[in-house]
Symmetry: C2
């Protein structure tokens, strides 16, 4: 990385800002020779690993167990659930040859793993004692998207976690959906990301689900990004005609399990962290997400190199010992170059140590989120950073939620929508619930989609649908989406 | 898992023992509906993650950076290096259809990632300042093996790490090979696994390599298992006709980089840990590899449940605080069932707490490796376990190396080989170095392969090849191999 002018303002031209930051921070390379496939470079991989860790730990805390299923699914298994195949068949990559010979049965690359995992559930689950079964895997999935691909936001290979659970009855399964929502909320709190938590409309469910719930966040260009979904599958996959997943219940009766699946999208979450918090100097990472939390930079002065370097090393050691991921940049670059580089990478805290700092027993702490400096006495450094850790997250979260909330505008009619369209990234409105109406809105507004009903609060609609004037049955949120 | 009779002795029928332990410990399911592909269950995934962590940390310590490249490689890129394609083309899975349409260019699933990564190296490397470039990725690779597949040992999808490096000259690249060998030695020390560290014979090199080095370990059935390899690639992939990876050197001259690649096989390492250390009670895990290091089991007695449970909780908490991965098994199963289960899973230390332990202020510590018990005073528990941590590893390592070393027999002639064949799992002999001779040995001995020359010590051959009687040029090791 070389020192260059700041990036553009992300709110003015998000697309350019995003491409620019991916390149300048050396996060992603889009020049891989297969359309829709990208290379994750080291600077983003450290962040990707942190995001995986945070979510995996939350899952494990709630008794989900890690597994790994094959990347290939036999076509016969993939075709078992009729809704599911309808939804995905136009997107799958097919393997029909191996070692120069045609395969006996075609295989697909997993677009999602219900049809890989549930045949094993049928083998593993015998009695109610095996339930609940709660597993997950952290993998890439493959979908031949026909929409324009965008790095991290919409690709043909993307990173996610998928959790799959089986239960004795509907109630336990629906409780799992609630737990998934709580896990997502906790994770998003650590990421400092705002979200709309909605139930998708019936015509917009996951293929094969009974009910679908989703988290949408908002990107600076005013489009929302679905970052996680969880689904109550009922017995759609477990019934006798599909994977026939049965258990003997306490009462001795054989029953089919109720299922849920949950998918936080890791590529998209990372994209959202970059986009929501970033600024014209690059990434701004929440303290816990940051692979490197503190960068120590010695400001050398002729004749004082030794003492400055010594203090820098001691501070680095002390912070590492205190459990902070700290690195000392003792490279030959000039301080300005180092500032540029570590700000671009979003390191939350920079500690500058020069002649003055050595002489007077303090350090200069720079906060990446505010881009502000302050002096802190040597003996107070650790306490100060412990304090900053939560202050930084609060600041990022507040800013992000403020932007998010101010982008939601309620409208009561088509006319009001058209008038406020500019300010309203997310539109709140009473709605009739008909798919035809939703389709019409999308067509006439260049892409506003009904994203669903909030599930964290109960909202009472006014009498009429804002668009068609027929009776309204729900309050929904509309937005353009990735 | 239910309490059952012990497993068979692994030395008597390894194949049966191995299948049995994979099933009884619920590690792997081989019933996935695509031949050569297996399902990793939670009990093994925790171990897999530890093995990844240990090797990744060693790589990162030596400045390797994590990356992630696509699983698909365009056929045109795959075909660039002639030796490489010759070696792998009979094993690749091909994708020629996506979303119902034929692809413009066929894609293969990565069998290894040289041809995915090196085109990007050509874009990333401009000047000597970008060198050395040291990256790795932790992924699955896909090879349509025609030999019989065996779970973990030989599969069509297997887990590994691949590190790829580029350097200004041959010397730096060859030093990287040495570093790779050191990393592997360190990792294998943590795994308690013995190994033969050899240079492969010229006709047995990685496709596209100048020199190939490998770690072979020994399984209880007397066959060796290649668990890691590292290769000096020279300029075979960087030259102008292949990927043309050039940099401007300090002297201003454009030069092609020298390269290395390194691949520790995670599935196979896990298989070796299971096989080498395991016994008729299941897995025996080295302390650092174990996902759960200590299991605390309360032995409840009527009327004393509360005090026994309280002490169990306190001990668990204290051990967790001290940094040990500790769990308390407070389930309703009988102690015997719990013993069976956690022994099967190889937890290195079990702490039993009953009435006596509460009354007299001690705990009973059970070592999985020795299956022996001792009493330890409450106040000494942590020190004791800190001590056991290295004792257990030493014990496992010593046993494994003893078995390994006693399986190596030197022979001076064909006759001597045939006589000692039973005892000699690994045969040490002076050898002419000719491929024809190696082929003849393999054919006439039901599979003894020349595995290569040791590189950690210099061994001087006697005058004649033990097999053909021609002049000997090296001391080699021979074994049947997976």
């Amino acid at each position: 990385m070389s020192t260059e002018a700041p990036l553009k303002k992300k709110n003015e031209n998000f697309s350019e800002w995003f491409d620019d930051v991916l390149q300048r921070a050396e996060l992603i390379d889009i020049r891989y020779n297969v359309k829709g496939f990208i290379v994750y470079r080291p600077n983003i991989m450290f962040i990707v690993k942190r995001v995986y860790e945070i979510i995996e730990n939350l899952l494990i805390e709630k008794n989900h167990k890690p597994t790994l299923f094959p990347v290939v699914i036999p076509i016969s298994s993939f075709k078992k659930e009729s809704e599911h195949i309808k939804g995905f068949e136009s997107e799958v990559f097919k393997i029909n040859e191996a070692g120069g010979e045609e395969l006996e049965e075609e295989l697909i690359l997993r677009p999602t793993s219900e049809t890989a995992i549930y045949p094993m559930f049928a083998l593993w689950i015998r009695s109610y004692k095996a339930l609940p079964m709660k597993i997950f895997q952290s993998v890439s999935v493959y979908r031949h998207e026909t929409k324009a691909t965008r790095p991290l936001l919409r690709g043909r290979e993307f990173l996610w976690i998928e959790a799959h659970c089986a239960f004795i009855d509907e109630e336990s399964a629906r409780n799992q959906v609630k737990e998934d929502l709580e896990i997502t909320k906790k994770a998003f709190h650590e990421f400092g990301l705002p979200f709309l938590m909605v139930e998708r409309e019936p015509y917009d469910r996951f293929y094969g689900a009974v009910d679908s719930y989703a988290f949408d966040t908002l990107l600076p260009d005013g489009r929302v990004l679905q970052v996680a979904t969880t689904h109550y599958l009922g017995q759609n996959f477990s019934n006798a005609n599909v994977f026939d997943i049965k258990f003997t219940d306490k009462d001795g009766i054989r029953k089919n399990v109720h299922q849920t699946c949950y998918g936080p999208g890791v590529s998209r979450i990372v994209a959202a962290i970059i986009s929501v918090h970033g600024d014209e100097y690059g990434l701004v990472l929440p303290f816990d997400v940051a692979p490197f939390q503190i960068i120590v930079i010695p400001i050398l002065k002729a004749g004082k190199e030794d003492v400055i370097m010594e203090k820098s090393k001691i501070i680095t050691q002390n912070l590492s010992k205190a459990g902070f991921r700290t690195i000392l940049d003792d490279s030959d670059e000039r301080p300005g170059e180092k500032y540029y580089k570590w700000e671009m990478l979003g390191v939350p805290i920079r500690i500058e140590i020069g002649e003055e700092e050595v002489k007077k027993g303090f350090v200069t702490i720079f906060r990446r989120d505010l881009r502000s400096r302050k002096k802190v006495k040597d003996e107070d450094v650790i306490d100060n950073i412990l304090n900053l850790k939560s202050l930084i997250l609060k600041e990022l979260e507040k800013r992000a939620w403020d932007t998010f909330n101010s982008s939601i505008i309620s409208v009561n009619s088509k006319e009001e929508l058209m008038k406020k369209r500019e300010r309203a990234k997310i539109v709140r409105a009473s709605f009739c619930g008909r798919k035809e109406c939703a389709d019409e809105i999308k067509a006439e507004t260049e892409g506003l989609e009904v994203r669903g009903r909030r599930i964290d609060i109960k909202e009472i609609p006014s009498e009429k649908c804002f668009w068609c004037g027929k009776e309204a049955s729900r309050v929904v949120y509309l937005a353009k989406a990735y």
